[in-house]
Amino acid sequence: MHLDVRLPIGLMFSIFGALLSLFGLFGGREVYEKHPLQVNINLYWGLVLLVFGVFMLVLVSRTRKR
């Protein structure tokens, strides 16, 4: 029995993604006003991480079904 490495990667990046995007949505706005590009990078990059994490988890579950 082997651990599929995509499982911890998928889980970890989903958690990071969810955390960062929620923090970006509900956390204070002032940090982004001081930001050199004034973007809510936590929200946007959090979503990217979430998509990647979920994609990895989908791959894992498809392999398992087979």
Binding site: P8, P36, L37, I41, N42, V48
Partner: protein
């Protein structure tokens, strides 16, 4: 420079550590013998080995060093990838992996034993083992120093923390655990640094904007305006580019001797490919690794170039911290993290950085415990132990390896000079190594005496060359010129290093040939089967589609690298 962390940053770090330890814990039950512990049971798919292959090599010193170098020398730093890595990675995959994976050798020193003799193996095993401990110790020291400087964390606590975590996951899961964590670290580095590069590029106005902003950087330093953004144009003479090296020294020293010496003979990386589940996967490992590797300059060098551009143009109040009248280039990455990442993303960026420090350490420690257990303990101390005995030795060697790394870390903190000297000595030992392997694999007449004394001769040649030359502006001592007053002055330290390697390689190559010719070959053709090119039947793997063949993939990778060189010429 000081970074302020919020609760979310700490949370991200803690979650990462839990995953790292969790991976080790889950893999614990898959380790039932020494083969699982040291070789991952030779069971991993190529893509995992490939990402581990890059991850083990991509320590944080590399990440921070490449960014520093990007700021100091510009796009020429990419030669460490497009000249100094990719060709050698393709070569090891196509020409050398059949012998490493196909022979019964479990490590690179063991290959030397099978191909040459015991003394050649002993020499390589001992120097390699010492070097891995030192590199792991330096990684540890650099991590602790950095965390102390930017976060104010306690230096000793950082040493202990990083040591204990790496120890725990290797002790439980062995090589598989180290490789899995390297894969995790690979994705962390990509996702942690990509937003930095994207935001940086958008602020300087894309590549075109960066080229414009780097012109004053070049002219201020006394070079042609394109010196920071053109990789080959200014290599006609060493004086015309910031690296101080001309194209021949670059191609031969870095592109041939140093790069092939590292990628083709260093067990730290080769071990990852040898963990693959079959010959085809083992051969594809370095080539698959080469694909992201050739794009890594965008991830690790570009931030440095953007940083120096922003600093010089005074855009958006970005400043690099000063040091000794110049700039503290080693702080490029922390400065960029602090500038672009608010709390939240900062946690992710720091986690990526810490992950690469730890996987750099873990890579060295896993290579160390394999070489120690198989090549030193089993060969010289206890030949006839049971498999369970060697597994236990491997586990406890991990503890010893981490403890020794801590000692090395404190030695680095206390006596900067000793570490520099040791590193230099190891550079001398390594520079000629590729000549030994090249002759060993492709010339069946090369003998054990030839290999051993060739290696020694190459090492001595490296030391003599270094002792007689100096980089411009340096004083005699650790930088060279310690034998007599310098007979030759190089325009830069890098040029001196590259030429030291060229001399060492050439001496080893010629000496091995001469000594082999005058000594008798003790190995029979039957013993050398599977170890030497001309005596090994060609592997043709039936049923492997053409696009999966290592040769096809290798040609593709080389063509793409050539294209990158031309685009950024």
């Amino acid at each position: 420079m000081h970074l302020e962390l919020g609760w979310i940053d700490y949370l991200i770090l803690v979650i990462y550590f839990l995953f790292v330890l969790g991976i080790g814990w889950f893999l614990k039950k898959t380790v039932s013998g020494s083969k699982d512990f040291f070789e991952s049971g030779r069971s991993l798919p190529a893509w995992i080995c490939a990402l581990g292959f890059i991850g083990a090599n991509l320590g944080a010193q590399e990440v921070m060093g490449m960014a520093a170098s990007g700021a100091k020398y510009g796009i020429m730093t990419s030669h460490f990838y497009w000249v100094g890595a990719i060709p050698a990675m393709v070569f090891v995959a196509i020409f050398m992996m059949p012998f490493y994976y196909g022979s019964k050798a479990r490590s690179v020193p063991e290959y030397l034993k099978l191909r040459f003799d015991e003394k050649t193996r002993g020499f390589n095993a001992a120097t390699f083992a010492a070097m891995t401990i030192m590199s792991s110790g330096i990684s540890m020291y650099a991590l602790a120093k950095l965390l102390n400087a930017i976060l104010g964390w306690n230096f000793h606590a950082c040493i202990v923390m990083s040591g204990v975590i790496v120890l725990a996951y290797i002790f439980m899961g062995g090589l598989t655990s180290a490789i899995y964590n390297e894969v995790v670290q690979f994705f962390l580095i990509v996702f942690g640094f990509l937003p930095l590069v994207l935001m940086g590029l958008s602020q300087v106005g894309g590549w075109a904007g960066l080229v414009e902003k780097l012109k004053p950087v070049s002219t201020n330093a006394g070079f042609a305006p394109g010196a920071w953004t053109e990789s080959w144009t200014h290599t006609g003479s060493a004086a015309a580019n910031p690296m101080g090296i001309e194209w021949f020294g670059l191609a031969m020293g870095l592109g041939f001797v140093l790069s092939f010496g590292y990628w083709c003979t260093d067990f730290l990386v080769v071990q990852r490919a040898m963990a693959a589940k079959d010959m085809g996967s083992a051969r594809r490992t370095p080539i698959i690794a080469a694909m992201p590797k050739m794009l890594f300059p965008a991830l690790v060098i570009l931030p440095g170039m953007i940083a120096i551009a922003l600093h010089t143009a005074g855009t958006g109040n970005f400043k690099l911290p000063p040091k000794d009248g110049s700039l503290d280039y080693d702080m490029v990455v922390p400065a960029m993290l602090a500038y672009y990442f608010p709390t939240g993303m900062l946690g992710l960026g720091l986690t990526a950085l810490m992950a690469s420090f730890m996987s750099g350490m873990a890579g060295n420690v896993t290579a160390f415990n394999t070489v120690w257990t198989y090549d030193i303990y089993q060969s010289y101390l206890k030949k006839d132990g049971t498999d369970a005995h060697y597994l236990a030795v491997g586990r406890w060697t991990t503890v010893v390896g981490i403890a020794a790394s801590m000692v090395a870390a404190y030695a680095a903190a206390q006596f900067n000079n000793i570490m520099d000297i040791l590193q230099l000595v190891f550079a001398f030992v390594n520079a000629p190594l590729f000549a030994t392997f090249l002759l060993g694999m492709f010339w069946k007449r090369a003998t054990g005496h030839g290999a051993f004394f060739g290696l020694l001769g190459g090492t001595v040649a490296a030391a003599i060359h270094h002792g007689l030359s100096l980089p411009k502006g340096a004083v005699a001592g650790i930088k060279g010129g310690w034998l007599s007053s310098a007979m030759h002055t190089y325009p830069s330290e890098m040029a001196q290093n590259f030429w030291t390697a060229i001399f060492a390689w050439t001496a080893c190559f010629l000496l091995t040939i001469v000594i082999s010719v005058v000594t008798t070959q003790r190995k029979t053709d039957a013993e050398l089967k599977g170890l030497v090119y001309s005596l090994t039947p060609r592997e043709n793997e039936p049923g492997m589609p053409w696009y999966k063949q290592p040769v096809t993939l290798g040609i593709l990778v080389i063509a793409a690298t050539l294209l990158l060189n031309l685009v950024f010429w």
